[in-house]
Amino acid sequence: MKPAAFAYARARSVEHAISLLGEHQGDARLLAGGQSLIATLNMRLSSPSLLVDINRLPDLGAISVTAGIVEFGALVRHVQAEQSETVARYAPLIARAMPHIAHPAIRNRGTIGGSIAFADPAAELPACIVALGGELEIAGPHGRRSVSAEAFFKGMFETELGPHDLLTAIRVPAADAKTRAGFAELARRHGDYALTGLAACARATAGGLSDVHLAYFGVGTMPVRARNAEAALDAGDIENAVRAIATDLDPAGDLHASAELKSHLAGVLLRRVFRQLSEQPT
């Protein structure tokens, strides 16, 4: 299991990376943390002619909070987010998801931007960004643009990113005292891709929850919002919400779990996450 030969270039700037991608007509790939890409190269599932290494680009590795928005540079490593007090306080959903993302050695290298750009349907961060109503900043040959999370994910491993584009930043609304976050997943081994997982956020109200957002992963080609279950939880009815999952989700079975099992687990996770959303201090 060795990669096919490729050329290697180290990008000096975002613009340089984009021009290198352009010169290779869609046959070049960006190398960020490499924790998915290099595995696919080793297995020869992919054999690009050029890898453009963006790991040393300046200015893409910071986490900041400005005017109610938390911004992650695309090259923020998972471990950085996991250990960040800013993330724990202002992006608690992402903080809750972090320990479930692969294993320590992989979190030391893998990047937030890479995980989102790769768009594995069973990955945690895409679902978190969809639940939070986040926004992705993309740099391309014609300048920069911002795309909502729901418009960004288009299908299995398919996103709004074109062959000459680079994801530069991820933005989510900063949590305040009324923000609630919930996260749970089931995997055969801790850190493996989930059989089924759920990222959720909500607003605490006097009587319960409002603005509940539920984004499932591992149950479709991309993160799936469970809108009927959201409405049921807005109305405070967990039993109805669990029943609504049957209409919200239509998972396909895979090697690891049948469709029936995934549907069942989706209900189990909803109860766990509802407890998390309800239990946090007001």
Partner: protein, 162 residues
């Protein structure tokens, strides 16, 4: 930008290494094949098993998911270096005493991974040890003895009584 060999300069276990590497050479293959440091193992070669774990600039990484060419300017440490400095002598001794290895294939990766957790200080509970080692497969021991050895080392280093 070249498909041909690229020059890299790095330190491996404290020694400066100057080599030419093909871009497609992974760090673990470079360490084993070019430098003869065969304590680091190639297992699954897609990031699942953890046998290729090494330290780059002080943190553990999968040697199969990083390219040697990316390590230009980096500080790489393998099980050979970490053994020679005595940094994990107590952990190794506890593995021996508790029989926490049988074939030994996974052991270098597990030692480096455990050391990362232990070096943070504090007394991790068994669950924290399990979570930190979740990315390292051992097909011989059933893990209990490994958790025991790491726990014992943590207790000794922190002066915590059992």
């Amino acid at each position: 930008m070249s498909i041909e060999s690229c020059p890299i300069v790095l330190t491996v276990n404290g020694e400066t290494v100057i080599e030419n590497v093909e871009p497609r050479t992974t760090l673990v293959d470079f360490l084993r094949d070019s430098l003869g440091l065969t304590g680091t193992r190639t297992g699954c070669e897609h990031g699942v098993c953890g046998t290729c774990t090494v330290r780059v600039d002080g943190t553990i990484v999968r040697g199969c998911l990083m390219l040697a060419v990316q390590c230009d300017g980096a500080r790489v440490e393998t099980i050979e270096g970490v053994s020679d400095t005595g940094e994990i002598a107590d952990l190794q001794e506890n593995f021996r005493l508790r029989n926490a290895l049988q074939c030994g294939f996974c052991t270098p990766g597990i030692l480096l991974t455990a050391q990362e957790l232990l070096s943070r200080g504090g007394m991790p509970d068994r669950e924290a040890i399990r979570l930190h080692l979740s990315g390292n497969y051992c097909r011989c021991t059933g893990y209990q003895a490994i958790i025991d050895a790491v726990e014992t080392t943590a207790r000794q280093r922190t002066g915590t009584n059992s």
